[in-house]
Symmetry: none
Subunit: 418 residues, 2 copies
């Protein structure tokens, strides 16, 4: 099956809105294994939409028309497609009842254009609109399927997910469900991750693997199609085991709506650990990331931003001469900062960050060089050096995530020993 | 002149990225009065791109190919267009020199694909890439103009604004220049801003006004067309004066690449003021925002994250009983935090932030309530209460910008008294 997307709207041609619907639908089609080789954008113009549909017919058998289903006179998609295919528009009674109830409630007079929202090309399957008033439709004509979808993303996206995708799955003859599992990784680039999974990606059919770049991390989505959710999960399990065998050292959690900070805060809770920090180059960004997570206040009480050698010494009760002698960006200073923060904050574990964010080197140390220290009561203090690529913001962003990753592994180690 | 945009990239067909370049360029063309009736998206495939160009030639005389100029084997736009038009690719020497310097610096071996980035179709005008390595080009063939532009938005947008738009203006036969002035505002919403400028927006022709929403702030772009830069600036001056008369209380600076933090750091430098902070709900985000600005280390030495009442008392040498009695989110505590931070950090000015980020109220205080304190040596400490809308991230983000805005106004007051 070969799809083509036609987005309709003069606002897109004027650059007033971005065609986010196109990307959203393309992603869903790609996940379903449906190819899509061309997309078009046309304005609110019946002749040009008609030509776009004809062009799509020359190269696709699943044709989507996005937008132009609304109540205003420039909404022409439904009429244009019906005319193109030589079918009548008929009324969907549930949608018409909803439309009338809405008009009564709003004291609106309904126009002919208004009524069109509840109509669909005769013979089509109606795609209900859970959020708005204009129904979508899917119609088969001479071996091709035509789909009408509404333009506003808040109507479009639920209709795609709740009505269109199930209809497409049925059409694909599967009666199947689609289950995804998202794995999150830190400390490995997308290209290295793809290299490590090269053979799995080359041979993928079901389940499939897809990588996504997030800020300074990579996610991997495993997707399986099967007759039931349990059967799909059973397909995903061995694939994930293989992925974990190869990349487990970089793995930190599941799910699209997850983060290193959220995993850290959950692990702090499970181990009843109070954390603090002393930040130099990141200047509070690590602590701010922890505090992004609701409920953190049980396990984070406060910490220090020590941007100069003087404040490192003063706030953390360290000897400034030793910091000056060792250098601000050094193993010794990172360890001293972590130990000082631990003691001054009365916490169970303390992170320290000191490095050169750039641009350019500082006191002979290259931009991107960062020492991260970790001190905990009753065990030796550790510190590791990192060389992060990128500009000032990237170095600071990567340093924050690296510190969170180090803390997460430390806490996971504690859990094993409990 | 009738334009058509062809965006090239399999990632768009898979829904991995959204075609933001299309919207950005469409907006610029619309501002220039150039019509655009169709857009296409094709994958990284030479045959399909060739067909897309041929289709565009049937209905447009200004054809844009967006993306596919990079160094990987699937970047085919330049080669495909050159072959389509029957012209050779030739080397742009400045771009080649830049490419070689970059390869030397990164210890990269250059491949043939790499070298293509510095090439353009013979006879074309080169559009320089200020940010990346791949040059763009504009070529006239048989009454049509063809334009090649890079895919990454951070390269695409500056090339469009700085190289393409001036070239199009020249082509439009105006001999005119387009000058923009970007004004940045904090503390006013877009709809209120538009209401305040209602009559100016309604009557706009030249100069024009356009608003853009940034995170928790609004920018206004004034754009004038005239025979010279000076003439355009002279058109902008009275319009800006009128805008400032109405909205000056919210204005904080100029330019697309500016920020409240950058303006604050510049003002700290002009007034030789060292700043510190004690942050509760923002947990370091304010200090991290200051440290985003290179060169801040002369005026920011460090500060405190005081997330609990205990750390507020311990780090800032305050009386915890008084904090407990007044409440963490109170005028008295905000003032005490600012004064404590000022003294403990030995700074010239100190900000404090204490509030409820949410979700939900805390100790009877509504989510969104934030007190911001400011203490400075030799003058009375002040504090103001704010009620920010939105979720946890929005409340914290708005609180950081509000504190920066308060500090900026304080520093500007100092400048006036010098």
């Amino acid at each position: 099956m070969n799809a083509e997307l036609i987005a309709v709207g003069t606002e897109m041609l004027l650059g007033q809105i971005t065609n986010t619907n196109g990307a959203f639908l393309a992603k869903q089609l790609s996940d379903l294994g449906i190819d899509s080789l061309n997309q078009q954008v046309v304005g609110d113009n019946s002749a040009r939409l008609d030509a776009a549909i004809a062009l799509a017919e020359s190269r696709a058998d699943l044709i989507f028309v996005l937008g132009g289903l609304g109540p205003t006179p420039d909404d022409l998609s439904k009429q244009t497609l019906a005319k193109h295919l030589g079918v009548e528009l008929v009324t969907d009674e549930p949608a018409m009842a909803k439309l009338k109830a809405f008009a009564t409630q709003q004291h609106h007079q309904m126009t002919a254009n208004n009524l069109l929202q509840a109509m669909y090309p005769a013979g089509a399957t109606v795609l209900p609109n859970a959020v708005g008033l204009a129904v979508g439709a899917m119609l088969d004509v001479q071996g091709r399927a035509y789909v009408l979808l509404p333009g506003p993303p808040r109507e479009f996206e639920p209709m795609v997910l709740n009505a269109l995708v199930p209809a497409l799955l049925k059409r694909l003859g599967h009666g199947e469900v689609l289950v995804s599992r998202v794995l999150r990784f830190f400390g490995i680039g997308e290209s290295q991750l793809v290299t490590e999974l090269d053979d799995l990606i080359a041979q993928q059919t079901n389940p499939t693997l897809a990588t996504y770049i997030k800020p300074y991390e990579v996610t991997l989505r495993l997707t399986a199609k099967a007759g039931s959710e349990a059967a799909a999960e059973a397909l995903l399990d061995p694939l994930e085991r293989e992925v974990q065998k190869r990349l487990g050292q970089y793995f930190y959690g599941y799910g699209d709506n997850n983060s290193l900070a959220a995993e850290v805060v959950a692990a702090l809770g499970r181990t009843h650990t109070v954390v603090t920090a002393a930040e130099s180059l990141t200047a509070g960004a690590l602590q701010a990331a922890l505090a992004d997570v609701p409920g953190v206040s049980d396990w984070f009480k406060g910490g220090f931003v020590t941007y100069s050698n003087q404040t490192k010494a003063a706030f953390l009760h360290l000897d400034q001469k030793q910091i000056d002698a060792a250098g601000a960006v050094s193993e010794q200073t990172a360890k001293a900062m972590a130990e000082g923060a631990l003691k001054q904050a009365g916490a169970d574990v303390a992170l320290s960050l000191t490095g050169v964010a750039g641009p350019g080197p500082n006191q002979g140390v290259e931009a991107g060089t960062v020492w991260i220290g970790l001190a905990a009561s009753g065990q030796p203090t550790s510190a590791s050096v990192h060389h992060f690529p990128g500009n000032r913001a990237a170095v600071r962003g990567r340093a924050v995530k690296a510190a969170l990753f180090i803390l997460l592994r430390f806490l996971q180690g504690r859990e094993k020993h409990v």
